[in-house]
């Protein structure tokens, strides 16, 4: 061992020792009592303190996660998804297994079924149009067709269909509910996906009296109650002139859609029926 090596080892070793001692002392003396989970979470994080998560270092992220008790919008570029998943399991934040759900658009007042009676100009958002007037088609409950829901979807799971002017939910919907909040008319509902992605629902939420509703839109639910009678499972309730199918009770038996005089009940992802004499309106094809 020559001199340089000796000096190096001594000086650096003592630096290290001093650092350890000082750190220990300081840590003991200035202990701050914190949520112990912060330590646990911080431990799981890479500790790179790169700031990539948008927080000031790993510990800051850990504190935020524990404070919010949620992992929404948190990510860690160096650690990746695995780290986040691990944290989720530590904190018990995983979504409990649930029946898969999906967003469903409950209006079929397309341009054809509810032809425009006036022309709208201005901020092309449903929010403003809703606050201004009943809509071009005249239905005060129906879809306005300016796509606030589509804009709100962060998962690219919705688009506006050109001909009908109605939004369509794609299969990759994660049922985050953003569109439900975005729609000023509360047209979108999160429903059970159903077996094999099959769903039956009333595609109308117009609470006006039958005649009035029908005047604006050919496919409005007119509250006639035929479907309620048809359903053997008490899955359909009639309230405020509008039928509603409870997806927990519905067995997807497919009895109700044909009895609806206005074709307001939609069935999705079923094999085609034997042809029926009347032509059927089926605007929302997934």
């Amino acid at each position: 061992m020559n001199e340089i090596t000796l000096i190096s080892v001594i000086s650096l070793g003592s630096l290290g020792t001093i650092a350890a001692i000082v750190l220990y002392m300081v840590a003991q003396k200035f202990k701050v009592i914190e949520d112990p989970r912060i330590d646990i979470v911080a431990d799981k994080l890479p500790g790179a303190n790169c700031g990539g998560c948008g927080y000031a270092g790993c510990r800051a992220l850990a504190e935020e996660i524990v404070r919010k008790e949620s992992l929404d919008g948190m990510n860690c570029p160096p650690g990746g998804n695995e780290v986040i998943a691990e944290i989720a399991s530590v904190l018990g934040l995983e979504a409990t297994e649930q029946d898969p759900t999906i967003a469903v658009v409950r209006c079929s007042g397309s341009r054809e079924n509810a032809p425009p009676k006036v022309k709208y100009e201005g901020d092309m958002t449903c929010a403003f149009a809703h606050s201004l007037f009943a809509g071009e088609g005249g239905c005060p409950n129906g879809c306005l067709g300016y796509g606030d829901c589509v804009v709100s979807c962060d998962f690219d799971a919705m688009y506006m269909e050109e001909e009908t002017g109605l939004p369509v939910v794609k299969d990759n919907c994660v049922s985050c509910g953003a569109c439900v909040k975005a729609c000023p008319r509360r047209i979108i509902e999160i429903r059970k996906r159903g077996k094999k992605d099959r769903r039956i629902f009333v595609s109308c939420i117009n609470v006006e009296k039958g005649g009035v509703a029908r005047k604006n839109c050919k496919v409005a639910c007119i509250g006639c109650g035929k479907c309620v009678k048809e359903c053997k499972f008490d899955a359909i309730v009639m309230e405020n002139n509008i039928a509603y199918i409870d997806y927990n009770k519905c067995t997807l038996c497919r009895k109700c859609p044909p009895v609806c005089p206005t074709n307001a009940i939609h069935e999705l992802n079923f094999p085609p029926r034997k042809p029926r004499p009347e032509t059927k309106n089926e605007p929302a094809k997934a």
Binding site: I4, I7, S8, S11, L12, L15, G16, A19, V22, L23, V26, A27, F30, K31, V32, A48, N49, C50, G51, G52, G54, A56, G57, C58, R59, A60
Partner: protein, 190 residues
């Protein structure tokens, strides 16, 4: 006049971020909001000054006399990181408000090129301790200028609905590039 040259040089001409490429990670990472970038700047100012002083002492009173300057990197990083960690722990206990405003940025800075870089440059330029401190403070000011300007621009861009592909880092880097172009106008001031 010499100090004046150091100050102008560090803030404008050789801006630490825009001309020397140091501390880019926090520059991109912690510049989403003006308020956070101000906090970050404060923390950088503090750590940079402290680190420069300590490393100056280490270099001139340990490494140089014992002829082990090759241990520069390792000793600097060890000292800086322990120091910052210590300050953080103390700050958290002593002044929680200050900790919230500044302290939370401290760990982020420890492992950051800007701090190390300035410490190394101080030695490279053979500054005296006072010059080194002025150098560090000016660099921190340069960092603050760059990141606060940038945060303002980013807050503005937030509202501008950039093309999807550009959002986030790409736009940030292009802005940084144009800023760097503009700062080249300061060339030759010192």
């Amino acid at each position: 006049m010499e100090y004046f040259a150091i100050i102008i040089g560090a803030i404008f001409v050789n801006n630490i971020v825009l001309a020397q490429f140091l501390g880019i990670c926090p520059y991109i990472g912690v510049s989403a909001k003006v308020s956070t970038s101000v906090g970050m700047s404060g923390a950088v100012l503090f750590v940079m000054t402290l680190a420069t002083i300590v490393t100056f002492l280490i270099y001139n009173y340990v490494l140089e006399p014992f002829n082990i300057t090759y241990l520069q990197t390792i000793s600097y990083i060890l000292v800086i990181s322990s120091l910052v960690q210590m300050v953080e722990i103390i700050l958290k206990k002593v002044s929680p408000e200050l900790y919230q405003a500044l302290g939370i940025f401290l760990p982020l800075i420890t492992t950051n090129c800007a701090i190390m870089g300035v410490a190394l440059l101080t030695i490279q330029n053979e500054f005296t301790l006072l010059q080194g401190v002025v150098f560090a403070i000016s660099h921190a000011a340069g960092f603050a200028l760059a990141i606060i300007l940038f945060a303002g621009i980013r807050e503005h861009m937030e509202l501008m609905d950039l093309p999807k592909a550009m959002r986030g880092a790409p736009a940030a880097l292009v802005v940084a590039g144009i800023l760097a172009l503009a700062f080249m106008g300061f060339a030759g001031l010192v």
